[in-house]
């Protein structure tokens, strides 16, 4: 057995980022993700990298924009209110086709809200909280190993598709510690960065921009981005399938909620109920086909989220027409994390043999 | 005679009053109070409190009343 380290989720992201070759971190403090800038402030100097605690979340994402425009792997991290502040620039980076990693260890809202684990930012992450109709890659880890692995994947996908990628976590997966098996960054074919700025002595002029004023230019650019999104959906949708084959009820959810739900599903199985779990790992692209095919035979879906209902819309848009989608939400705040026992109760409520 | 009153439940045992009192009439208790702090104790010796209120001015928790 390889050496297993006991690692906090936030730190697993840092370890994954460093293994992925990220040497530029720009951030601003906010609970519950402070472990990330703190870790990076310790590590970057020794790795010949740069750590800047910027004057704000807006400045940090713009530093990422600048560093990443030179082709470097760069990242920022924050939590919900801080992520909201980055929306304009994220839209720019999507339009400019700049790869980078944004980590959102989200907290409960709206507004200042609280610092508890929450999934209230699904819409913002997945539909595009910024203006102009763009998308970014969104990955939702539900274990510490995934915090590490998906961080590496995020950097690669971002480069392959030339777009920002986000890790969407929360205080549960961010603060939790679990065994982690570090491993070298897996090899993936990456395209040449023939767009990256470097001074014209290495060739002709390069411009990284999102302004398109020629007749029809911007529309064509939008359809080009759209084609990438379809490509992503076809090639990069990822999900975990747990005992859905014979299920008559499929529970779903992402990240920490799915993690809790999985135990509820196991408990239900122990009680003899045919229940499975379908957990989207990529929220964008959403694994719509997995839902479509699973609901070919299983007509009851129970979606569980730490909010008042967000991913449930994508589930409804994905399932077979005659499937019923139920929702159980716990918009989070102090003392509002659901327990497996509670979710089992919900499974019982909708379960039909 | 001037004196002070320390609210034990408000006191967080920071000790700033102890250094503020020119007469050195305040010390910290050895005993932990309900909130886990060791509160300040006022104890006159042959030197008496002047009611100068410097202790109270220094107290971040407004735990000291001064009478004169």
């Amino acid at each position: 057995m390889a050496k297993r380290l006991l690692v906090r989720g936030n730190e697993a992201i840092c370890m994954g980022a460093i293994e992925a070759g990220c040497r530029y971190y720009f951030g601003y403090p906010i609970t519950p993700q402070n472990d990330i800038p703190e870790f990076m402030s310790r590590e970057m100097p020794g790795l010949n990298g740069e750590f800047i605690q910027a004057e704000s979340e807006i400045a940090s994402i713009n530093m990422v924009l600048g560093a990443a425009a030179t082709g470097a792997r760069a990242m920022t991290s924050s939590s919900s209110p801080g992520i909201s502040l980055k929306m304009e620039t994220i839209s720019y980076m999507a339009g400019m086709e700049i790869p980078c990693l944004i980590v959102n260890i989200s907290r409960s809202g709206p507004g200042l809200g609280g610092i508890d684990a929450s999934q209230g930012d699904y819409f913002q992450a997945v539909k595009g909280g910024g203006h102009g109709g763009y998308h970014i890659i969104v990955l939702a880890p539900s274990s510490i190993q995934e915090m590490y692995d998906l961080t590496m994947l995020a950097f690669d996908l971002a480069e392959i598709y030339r777009m920002p990628a986000m890790i969407l976590g929360d205080a549960v997966v961010g603060q939790m510690k679990e065994p982690l098996i570090p491993h070298p960054r897996p090899h993936r074919e990456l395209p040449a960065k023939d767009w990256a700025l470097r001074g014209t002595e290495e060739g002709g002029q390069r411009v990284v921009k999102s302004l398109f004023l020629g007749d029809g230019e911007l529309e064509a650019h939008n359809w080009k981005l759209f084609a990438k999104y379809r490509d992503l959906a076809a090639k990069e949708a990822r999900w975990e399938d747990y005992e859905t084959a014979d299920a008559t009820l499929i529970a779903t959810g992402f990240g920490s909620a799915a993690r809790i739900a999985k135990t509820a599903v196991a408990m239900a199985r122990e009680e003899g109920m045919k229940v499975g779990l379908l957990r989207p790992i990529t929220l964008f692209p959403f694994p719509a086909k997995a839902f479509a095919s699973a609901t070919e035979h299983c007509k009851t879906v129970l979606d569980i989220e730490l909010n008042t209902g967000q991913m449930v819309e994508d589930v409804r848009l994905s399932v077979a027409r005659d499937a019923e989608v139920h929702f159980y939400g716990r918009p989070s705040g102090t003392g509002s994390l659901p327990t497996p026992e509670e979710l089992l109760e919900q499974i019982r409520r909708y379960y039909r043999n | 005679m001037p004196t002070i009153e320390i609210d034990e439940l408000r006191c967080k045992g920071c000790g700033l009053c102890t250094i503020a009192c020119p007469k050195k009439l305040i010390t910290l208790s050895e005993q932990i109070n309900n909130h886990g702090y060791t509160p300040a104790l006022f104890q006159e010796t042959e030197i008496k409190c002047t009611g100068c209120a410097l202790c109270a001015e220094m107290c971040p928790d407004v735990a000291i009343k001064v009478f004169k």
Binding site: L5, M176, R259, K262 | -
Partner: protein
């Protein structure tokens, strides 16, 4: 397993140690901390799930074992313990007289006293962990001792022997009476 106390009692360190010991024993484990917004004086709570197979939810609604280090934790979390579960209580700070549940295996230990006895008042958490390990067999004291190396920062390794003593003291209380 669920442990609750107030900040400063070392609840999170204890939980981390347990998790690390589970790794030493090649088990799976998750450690989930949670604490109040205030930096000081708030409650400190953590959940450690140890399993030979996959660890599912790091959140446990009704823990089968709870370690309770202060009064407010008992008041708040006592009712949640699974019927028939184990509740290890630090009776140095907790008054059990008003606690209504009769369906639990309650293990009362004067942890502060025990810690003071072995010479370090701060070792309450280790006493608790020792008792927990001995009572449940979730991890061995050896594994815990081993795990201390990874859990404590290098500069505190000199305290390892004291910590081990506290673990053993906690364990011995179980060992002695089977059931305190």
């Amino acid at each position: 397993m669920f442990m609750a106390g107030y900040g400063g009692q070392g609840v999170l360190l204890a939980g981390t140690l347990l998790a690390q010991a589970a790794i030493v024993e090649e088990k799976n484990v998750s450690f989930l901390p949670s604490y109040g917004v205030e930096k000081r004086g708030g409650a400190a709570v953590c959940t450690v799930v140890i399993s030979d197979g996959d660890v599912g939810s790091p959140v446990v609604g009704n823990p089968s074992v709870a370690v309770i280090l202060n009064q407010s934790s008992l008041d708040k979390y006592g009712p949640r313990i699974k019927p028939g579960g184990i509740c290890i209580v630090n009776t140095s700070l907790v008054d059990l007289s008003g606690f209504p549940r009769k369906d639990l295996d309650i293990i009362a230990i004067e942890m502060n006293a025990v810690a003071r006895e072995i010479g370090d008042a701060r070792m309450v958490n280790m006493v608790a962990v020792g008792a927990y390990a001995a009572r449940t067999g979730a991890v061995s004291i050896d594994a815990l001792a081993e795990a201390l190396k990874d859990t404590l920062p290098e500069r505190n390794h000199r305290f390892i022997p004291a910590n081990v003593r506290a673990l053993e003291a906690g364990a011995s209380l179980i060992g002695k009476s089977g059931q305190v």
